[in-house]
């Protein structure tokens, strides 16, 4: 195992004492197979215990350690140091207010996630005795990729629309709405449409596609949003041009 000194430039902000964030440089002795999160943990344990950041699983499952690494939204636990040369600049996720150091305020995302009702709303109530809601492998395949979202918010940090128009519900929340809309067991599309087929929903998206490019789980939020646009447009034509047809 080889070791090298990695220069980390970390954005620091203490709301009690700082008027604005500033960069702090750390020289960190790192193993070649370490990820940025390992380097931050080393800083916290051995160099500067005041550094604040979120993390939990260290295996790209919990979605806690999203941050900007050299300007790119990344999971710190999935960003291998060997892939970087020179000084590595670490900043909190873009487009979110900074709570402290690398910790951001994520209330906006959580509120939006609730708005889109990301859970199964059965078409009709069914007693437990009636058995399970059955689903074919093809029906599962239809939405499965969207279930892989870990709510890490990298897509929000990559989305320039969200940065410019914060009311935009955004990629992950809308993709999760799409995940349930596409589920054969679900009957909640009408309720979700009120949120996602609005100006704050898919129509704020201009299809930059950055969300899908940065997703660490290879979900395709950009695809979900475009598909919702097409379906919502079909809805509109059915309602206005063919009022006799049922949606």
């Amino acid at each position: 195992m080889s070791e090298r000194i990695v220069e980390l430039e970390v954005l620091r902000f203490n709301p009690e004492t700082d008027t604005e964030p500033r960069f702090q440089r750390y020289s960190v002795p790192c193993m070649n197979e370490w990820v940025v999160l390992d380097a931050l943990n080393h800083v916290k344990e051995s160099i500067d215990p005041t550094l604040s950041y979120r993390w939990s699983c260290h295996m790209a499952v919990c979605g806690s350690c999203g941050m900007m690494i050299n300007g790119e939204p990344k999971l710190a636990c999935k960003a291998f140091l060997r892939e970087y040369e020179g000084v590595i600049r670490v900043e909190p996720l873009a487009h979110f207010p900074i709570q402290r150091d690398l910790v951001t305020v994520i209330d906006d995302f959580v509120t939006k996630l609730k708005r889109v009702k990301p859970y199964l709303i059965p078409k009709e109530d069914q007693p437990v005795e009636a058995g399970e809601f059955r689903q074919s492998p093809a029906e599962l395949k239809r939405y499965k990729q969207y279930t892989l979202c870990i709510n890490c918010m990298l897509c929000y940090a990559a989305c320039p629309e969200y940065g410019l128009v914060p009311k935009f519900i955004g990629p992950a929340a809308i993709s999760l709405a799409h995940r349930y809309n596409e589920d054969s067991r679900d009957g909640g599309r009408e309720e979700r449409q009120q949120e996602i087929a609005s100006n704050e929903g898919v129509w704020e998206c201009s299809f930059v596609g950055a969300c899908s490019e940065v997703c660490p789980e290879h979900v395709d939020p950009a695809g979900a949003l475009q598909q919702i646009k097409i379906k919502s447009t079909v809805d509109w034509y059915k309602e206005h041009a063919m009022p006799w047809s049922k949606k």
């Binding site: 873009a94 900074i98 596609g209 395709d220």
Partner: protein, 132 residues
């Protein structure tokens, strides 16, 4: 913002936000090149107007269009129109995934279908224009 215990909000530049990131510059290139599609539509409109004004106006218009400046303008428009159209073709699988059974049709097939349709439309237009 002062040191008041409140979170710090980083402002996003309203005009320069796309300059620092190649991903955003590619997006802007796709969007901005639509201007050249509009320019071509404008030339077609002018052509219709000249046509309605009689033979002399039409021939003067054709003369301008086939002169060096006209040819250069059309080549520039063609280059940007191709860039604009192909950049949209390449993202169509996202908007129109085709599921057959448990599999999704590969994106290349959906993109290829768009190129094929483009080729057919081009040949049809050239045929109608008497090129063959």
């Amino acid at each position: 913002m002062s040191a008041n215990g409140k979170p710090y909000v980083r402002e996003v530049s309203r005009y320069g936000w796309f300059l620092g990131n190649p991903r955003y510059r590619r997006y802007m290139a796709r969007e901005v090149t639509c201007v050249f599609i509009g320019l071509h539509a404008l030339i077609l409109l002018v052509a219709l107007k000249r046509l309605s004004e009689g033979r002399e106006a039409w021939e003067a218009f054709l003369h301008n269009l086939t002169g060096p400046a006209g040819i250069v303008l059309q080549l520039v428009i063609l280059a940007f129109a191709i860039y604009h159209s192909t950049s949209w073709f390449n993202v169509t699988p996202k908007a129109m995934p085709v599921q057959i059974g448990e599999q999704f049709l590969p994106g290349a097939v959906i993109i290829g279908a768009h190129y094929a349709a483009w080729l057919v439309a081009t040949v049809a237009v050239l045929y109608l224009a008497g090129a063959f």
